[in-house]
Amino acid sequence: MEGWDPSTKSTLTQIPLLTTKAGPRDGAAWTQRLKEEYKALIAYTQMNKSNDNDWFRISAANPEGTRWTGNCWYVHNLLKYEFDLQFDIPVTYPSTAPELELPQLDGKTQKMYRGGKICLTVHFKPLWAKNCPRFGIAHALCLGLAPWLAAEIPILVDSGMIKHKDDAASSAES
């Protein structure tokens, strides 16, 4: 599990693992899977809250629970930068990891596919494959998005690619 900072790793290990291997097309098994996803997400969220490390809000956008929307944020230099977050559960899930999208940052950085899908590290995919079906959405957020935000936002802010909303507002006004 090299490639991640120790705090990420310790957090990851504390997220409950999933057991059911089922995709959105598997009917009841998917429901079961969805339940486990929720439990993992609840645990992860509580963990973050208790550590004063809350950084995202998501919710299922459809009843099947195949599309999720929400937002995430990062605090840099005492300024909170907030972005929209959306992703779909692929059909091959859980063998394939969900593709996390930050549409607001599309085109603003190299570490991103078209449509705002973030580029993950080379380590992510093998790890995910190795841990299928035990990893779920919570794990993907923890392992994928959190490190990406920590790595990319300060660069983006410093390079002026993104501006705080207050600044943006003031600049727009001016």
Partner: protein, 819 residues
Amino acid sequence: MDDELLELQRQFEFAQQAKSSIRLSDRNVVELVQKLQELRIIDFDLLHTVSGKEYITPEQLKHEILTEIKKSGRVSLIDLADIIGVDLYHVEKQSHHIVSEDPDLMLIQGEIISQSYWDSVAEEINDRLQECSQIALAELAAQLHVGSELVASVLEPRLGTLVKGRLEGGQLYTPAYVARVSAMVRGASRGITVPINLSILWSSLQQLLQEMDGSTGVAVDSSFFQSLFNGLVKEGEILGSLRAGVHWTPTVFAVAQKESIDSFFSQNSFINYEVLQNLGIPQPVQFLKSRYPEGTALVSIFVHPSLIEMLDTATEDAIAHGSWIDALSVLPASFGSQDASKLLSLCPSVQLALKSNKAVIFGESYLFSDGLIKDVYDLLEKEMEILSVSESSGVGLSVDLTDTKVGHDSSKFADLDKTGNEMGSSKHGTDRGSKKKRGKSSGTVTASVAETGTNTQESSTSKSKKNQRKGKDTSSSQASDPKAAVKKESVKTKEDIDNMPSEEWIIQKITLLVPDFEEQGIDDPETIIRPLANYLRPKLVNFWKQRRKALFTENAVKMKNLLDNLQKKLDESFLNMQLYEKALDLFEDDQSTSVILHRHLLRTTAAAIADTLIHNLDMHNKIKNGVEVEPQTSDSVSLSPGERTAMAKSFPGSLSNMALATAEALEGKQVETFMTALRAIAEESGLILRKLDKKLERTLLHSYRKDLTSQVSAESDPVSLLPKVVSLLYIQLYHKALQAPGRAISVAITRLKDKLAESAYKILTDYQAATVTLLSLISAATGDEEDCTSDRILTKRELLESQMPALKGLVLTASQSLN
């Protein structure tokens, strides 16, 4: 849709909506707190825990400490600091506050201890005490890890309530145990009848306890015994007195002690300090003085006045009777001499007598009455007189003794004296160096001297007899106690004529004169006599000196007379001697005759002169030394050569040498040597020898001639006529006085041949021849053949008698013709 899924959805929603807890970093918190303090929102001291992660308020700390104390009742501050996690400094500070606020708590050696803790400890101790009946405080202290003093101080208020027992010398005892030990102490101390050091008793009791309790028994401190003992004494359960805290004297003993002293003192009316010391009274004098104020303390004995009275009567008696007394003989045997002397000085009669000089104390215990001393002194004075006489005879005797010794060597006495000398020398062997033993020996020695004397010289007999008589005097006075005499002798090896009466002599005399000293059965009579002798000696010496002085004045006259006398005699005889000496010149050419003549002269005239001189000088010497000398009766003194040398030796200094030279010259053959010696001695002794001058010679010759002429004319014996005639002839013809012995007559006659007429010479030679034959006949004559020889002698004598007138005529006519 599944309900459960919906529920989970809702839950997730809720979880996301929930407010996340805010986390601050430590740094932020610290800054916040500082800010709060700066803003005075927190207006009290905040304390840090040891870890530095926590703040704690003093109230909380105090609260926590109190809870900790309540838990066990005893907490160490260090433990508190550990438990609460606050620095020790703050814990200590807070603890001090707590302890000062709460009287039930105490802070001891870094520990907070509450009274309730002590109560529980006391209960524990009590339980144990009841089990073991005794516990050492030190043991408790070690168990509780506190000082034994603290334990004692804590236990003291609880004794009798929580702890049922008694604290004594660092030990806790149960009442039962105390009672037991106190019974032991009571028994032991009641059993004591003699004074004892209590610590000895305690140690024995300790041993006893140890044995009873076995190895588990704790050693009982002796102070425990002591306190029990003191309690018993106070209660009157045991009787006695305690000195210096440890010396216990039971009443029984004190009573017995007093009784024994009382009984002894009342029976004997004295008591030795030693006896008291044996009884255990360390200061007998003070004790006795306080107990018997009427008594008297002496050096080693305490006496009752009755004893003094007794001694007083005894001494009074002795003084009254003019006797003496030894205080020790009157007093009991345990009295020392110092005590006796002190006691004597206390007797009123003695004091009186000493004041009035009626008695004298000698040594330490002898009292002599004045009367007795006077008697003794008188007796001694008499003895002294005898001594002075005996001393002089002693000198004479010593001369005699040496005389015989010399005689032994001299060939002249060889045969005759043999027996006598053997006796003398054998005696001499025993007497050598001790002239004092004259009492016994002098008789025999003088007898032997007398024996030899009769054989050799007539005059020596009288001398010896005289000595013998003196010797007898001394022997009668001394022979009564030969033993004492011997003793005295050994002390007085050297008799000096100047000698004073020695101490030993006086002692010996006193023992002789006052025999009752010895009758008293005193072991060593000297102890009493010596002081007496010492007392008397100065007086006697005085007496002796006075006597000597008197003797000297008396003797001075005598000496003068003697010297005058001597001078006169010497003048006369010396002149004669010179006269005769001149005559010797005639015969100088004839050696043999000269020798004979010289010797003859020396033997006769010279010897007489020398003897007179020596004898008189000897007498002079004796008188000078204060020895009484009997006045010389006869002028003619003749001494043997031995006597001469002995006398010569007794002379002082150079005079002795000269006298010896003179005596030797007498034995020689030269008249000249004698003359020089004689002159020397005369000069030394202050006498004058007159020289012969012409005028004097003539008058002397004339008188001599006259004398001879008258003698010749009066002479009737034919034999003795011849030398006189020859002498007369010599005077007539040579004007020289010749002294010729018989043997030299013929030579003298032949020398006259030239001077005389033929006929006269013929008469002389005939007469001489006839005389010689007559003398040879007389000497050859024996008693048996009287008939034959006597006839011849008779005829010869007749023939000589017939020729006598012719011879007389020859001389007388010649003298007449000369005249």
